[in-house]
């Protein structure tokens, strides 16, 4: 009897450690998808990152409720969704209100897009390098500074906002197409 308590404590510690490792593994495997999902909800990088930070903590707190063998991605998206909605409310800028069906639809699409995400990321990196120098510089202006929009970039570059909008739209469209082509080419037998 004397040894029981320490043994239980050790068992508990081992259990905690295993649980921690399991959660970490699941979270890391899904966090990119979760971030993209939150970005689709908020349209704002900072809001999405903040929401994911909060969501990770809530997920850990609620992890005992998660049933092994069920869909972690779906479970995590429910929590992330709540955090995303809260983040939208707290965001200083006005964000559009989407329906619950919209939230479900993008959750579904987000989970479906998990496959080949890494390949798409690598393809994108090579596609960016194929852009012209001026296009790459424009991307750097747009994405290299936290929180800047195309309008801000236009102001910085002293160029008409519409010109910058169009240029960024063209660049992104070409990148999407390039990524698709790259993946398709890789998949060819």
């Amino acid at each position: 009897m004397v040894d029981t308590q320490p043994t239980n404590r050790i068992k508990h510690l081992v259990y905690q450690e295993e649980r921690k490792t399991r959660f970490t593994s699941l979270f890391n495997a899904h966090k990119r998808g979760l971030f993209t999902y939150l970005l689709a909800l908020t349209g704002d990088f900072t809001a999405a990152e903040d929401a994911l930070q909060e969501a990770s903590i809530v997920m850990w707190q609620k992890f005992p409720e998660f049933q092994e063998g069920t869909n972690f991605a779906a479970w995590a998206r429910k929590i992330a969704c709540n955090m995303g909605l809260r983040s939208r409310k707290e965001a200083s800028k006005r964000l559009p209100i989407f329906s619950s069906r919209f939230l479900d639809a993008i959750a579904e699409a987000s989970m479906a897009s998990e496959e080949h995400r890494d390949r798409r990321g690598k393809a994108l990196a090579s596609c960016v390098l194929k852009l012209s120098q001026s296009d790459r510089e424009l991307l750097t202006h747009r994405y290299g500074n936290e929180g800047l929009t195309a309008k801000d970039v236009a102001k910085t570059l002293n160029r008409p906002a519409n010109t910058v909008y169009k240029a960024l739209r063209r660049i992104r469209a070409s990148l999407l197409e390039c990524v698709r082509r790259t993946i398709a080419r890789e998949d060819q037998p």
């Binding site: 990152e49 329906s99 897009s113 995400r117 890494d118 690598k122």
Partner: protein, 565 residues
Amino acid sequence: MNSSNSHRKEIIVLAEAFFEGTLDEEQAARLDRLVCEDAEAARLYMEYVELHGELHHMHQNRMPGAPIFGNAPDNTADDPLKQQTPSAPAGSSGMVFGWLGLGAITLAAGLLAATTLWWTYTSVDDKSQASFAVANNRNEHVAQLTTATDCCWRPTGNVGNDVGSKLKPGDRLSFDSGTIEVTHDSGAKVRLVGPAAYVVSGANRGLLEEGDLSASVPPEAIGFVIDTPAGQIIDQGTEFDVALHKDTTGDAFTADVKVTKGAVDIAMPKNVNYETVRSRFKDGQAARISSIQHSGTTTAKLDLKNFNSSQDGSFDPRTIKGMRIWLRADAAVMRDKQGRVTEILDLVGGSNKKAENFRQEKQNSRPLWLDRGLNGRSTLTFSGRQYLRLADRSELCFYDESLTIFVVAKASDNTQYFISSQGTLETSDQTGFRFTTSRDCGLRYMAGRTVQVIREFPITRHNVLSAIHDRRIPGKNTVALFCNGRQLGQIEPVPDSKIENSYPLTIGGNPESIHIYPDSTQNFLHGDLAEIILFDRVLSELEQQRIESYLMTRYDLHPSPPQLQ
């Protein structure tokens, strides 16, 4: 149900508007409807969102593609970086919260009473890079030793001489001589020349602890990170060189970074709160970064490209052999919150075994930094008992070396010290060398007990002042003083002199006054210093002219000398 081509375009237009902050209510409702009614529209929207997110992370110096958040399976217990992220005693995972950065750390700390530990060297805002590193399982191979030539390995490393060895996170390569190449799994290659020490941190990250490194990073490895004790270098698709130097105190490092192709970002600690500043350098540019150990200081960056600009006559003074000290008021000057100088870094770099960085720990003894003190250029302003000195004696041995010294300076009257050395702290000690003004407002050079050369002229304006002490032929020593390229009087034959350097080289003050007369303001500089260059040999006339021309052009100084008295 397939989206029509027009629907596809509309989704993109609406998504563009959403992410540029211009989506109105009507458009939001339309986007909502399209996504809800058409799974293909939802997929298209998510595809666009993912592109947007990837571009964002890519340009925030995060690894594009897979490593943005890291998908590799984890082994928390074995993770080498676990101890560098906040611990999570309540059962949370240090790895999970590690990538979240400052905000999450604060949040997690509040919620979970986490102990805040920081990355040893890295900037804390680079979330995904940390994520990438922690995502690597310690037991997985992430790099390979691809070349090892003539290596003399040290026992402090844990990797042998076997070319082809697979390397895990935490593996350390330490060698005294030879050349090695490490190829990370990302494709990034680093070449190191001994003596050097390099730690593999992950598939796309490494830590340079000592020595020189050249990195070649293919497009798929954009975001490759080299950590150094002086700062963090984040590749943007490039080739770059890093040379790391450590001073003798062991608490300060400088890293010279030269971009040979593409661009890199350099992240440096900004203050004691571990905020960082990040600067981008492109091919042809270089930077010197330094670790900061003093609280409340800010870091200045050095863009070496400016040194070679046409404004400076396209001339790099370091191309002249024998440069041992190069201090510039507009480069690599660390300042406290009051704008006073805590440290000025020696710009010479690789030719010195250690960085001869001059410091001042005492707040009230720090000179003031002026942004535009001399024709639009920065200066250090000394007023009273203010000085900077090396932390330790210089590696320079002045015992029988010749010297050529250049200073861009002005001073008020009386004896005031530009730069000096000291052999002992005895009041009678004369064994140092001293480049000073004279009592009569002239220029003076002293060396040992026997050499003193004074040339009188008005010194209360900025000039390029120089002294050449030629000791190449014992018994036939000479000293010559110059102002703005013109010799002041005759070359003075001087007897052999013994110069010692047991005490730290000092700028703006006399070591004797500093140590023995704590309240004295005599023998301290009342004036400005913009630049100091010291060579350990006699420059040829042409070399001297090139340095003087460089300085006068740079500071827009009048070429004609002040009138001799």
